[in-house]
Each structure stands twice: as C-alpha cells, then as structure tokens.
Assembly symmetry: C2
Homo-oligomer: 105 residues x 2
C-alpha cells in the first residue's frame, strides 16, 4: 500500500469537513457506511467519469476518511469509521443522520 | 436585510460542511460561538484582506451558518446555532469539540 494515508492522530477537522462537503463524496461515504467491510471502488454506482472519481477517492483518502488497498488489480476502499469516531466523536454520526431539505410547497 | 439567507428547512448538509471545511471560516465560527449574541464583522481578528474576508462571510451566510444584518454602516453577524442544531443535531457540537492533531515527536 503506497498511497498516502494520514495517521489517526494527524486527521484535521477542516480537511475532513471539506472532503465531506461535496454531494458525490458524501454519497460515497453513505454507501460505504451502509456496506459491511470494504468495497471495490468500481462497485459503487457513481455516474461520473473515471478521472472525476479518482479525484474524489483521493480527497477522501488524503483527508483520512477512507482507507484504500490493492486487491489484485482492483482498489478496495473502506470507511475509517473507528478513526473518525475517535478523533471527532459524533461528527460522522451527525453527518450521516442529516436529512435532505424540506421540499418547497 | 437584502442579502440572501436560506431558510432553516432549506439548509443543505453538504453546503454547511463545505463552508465549515476551511480554517479561516472554522475560526470565525469558533469565535462567533464563543461570543454572546452578534458581532460586527470588523470586530473579528482576521489576518486576511477585506476581499477574502467578504468571500468567507458570504460562504458562511449562503450556507446558512451565519446571519447578517446592517447596524448603521457596519455589518453584524451571528451564528445560526439554533437553526443548525435543529436541522443537523450534534453536528456543530462535534465540529466545535474537534481538537487539533497531535504534534509529531
């Protein structure tokens, strides 16, 4: 595993918030949270180009939200839930519980 | 008050997270949270240009984190704590409780 992953105690709240503050990345985090264990990146239903997806995976990994490793030729990814809950208690729970805005009448 | 402010039930979690995911804006939010009531924008110790400050105030206001109104020729700003706590329970508490990363030995 050569890609950069910050250690748990080096996670920065502003980086985590910025990474979560994007609808595609938030969707990925919701999907990973709902999945037991790890997923291959290709298994997530993302309607974006490969280059855009690669960018989002990198932002999530470098902020410390996800962990990646190679599984053969595929990239497996998992949510660093324990690390996030330890460094920023309650944050991910609050984010994942957030509801969509009310519809305009 | 003519500047755009989203209604409480229209706040978007991704916009709020993106707005909080910046060290200057997070510093402003911490400062406002520690202040009783509202502050004038000029009273915050920001070491940035006026144009940059204006940008950050706008991002905070348009995401629904702050409320602004004119007080004479000054702009007063306050944290929409109750709106945020109602729409996203626990979020701001978790963000404000976040600690800095451990120092490298």
């Amino acid at each position: 595993m050569s890609a950069y992953h910050p250690d748990r105690d080096q996670l920065l709240i502003e980086d985590v918030l910025a990474a979560l503050g994007n609808p595609v990345r938030l969707g990925i985090v919701r999907e990973l949270d709902a999945s037991p264990g790890e997923r291959t990146c290709g298994s997530l239903p993302l309607e974006i180009t490969k280059a855009t997806a690669t960018h989002h995976w990198r932002v999530l990994r470098e902020s410390g939200i996800t962990r990646e490793h190679k599984v053969g030729r595929a990239k497996a990814v998992s949510l660093r839930r324990e690390d996030l809950d330890t460094r920023f208690p309650g944050l991910l729970t609050a984010v994942l519980a957030a509801t969509a805005p009310a519809r305009r009448a």
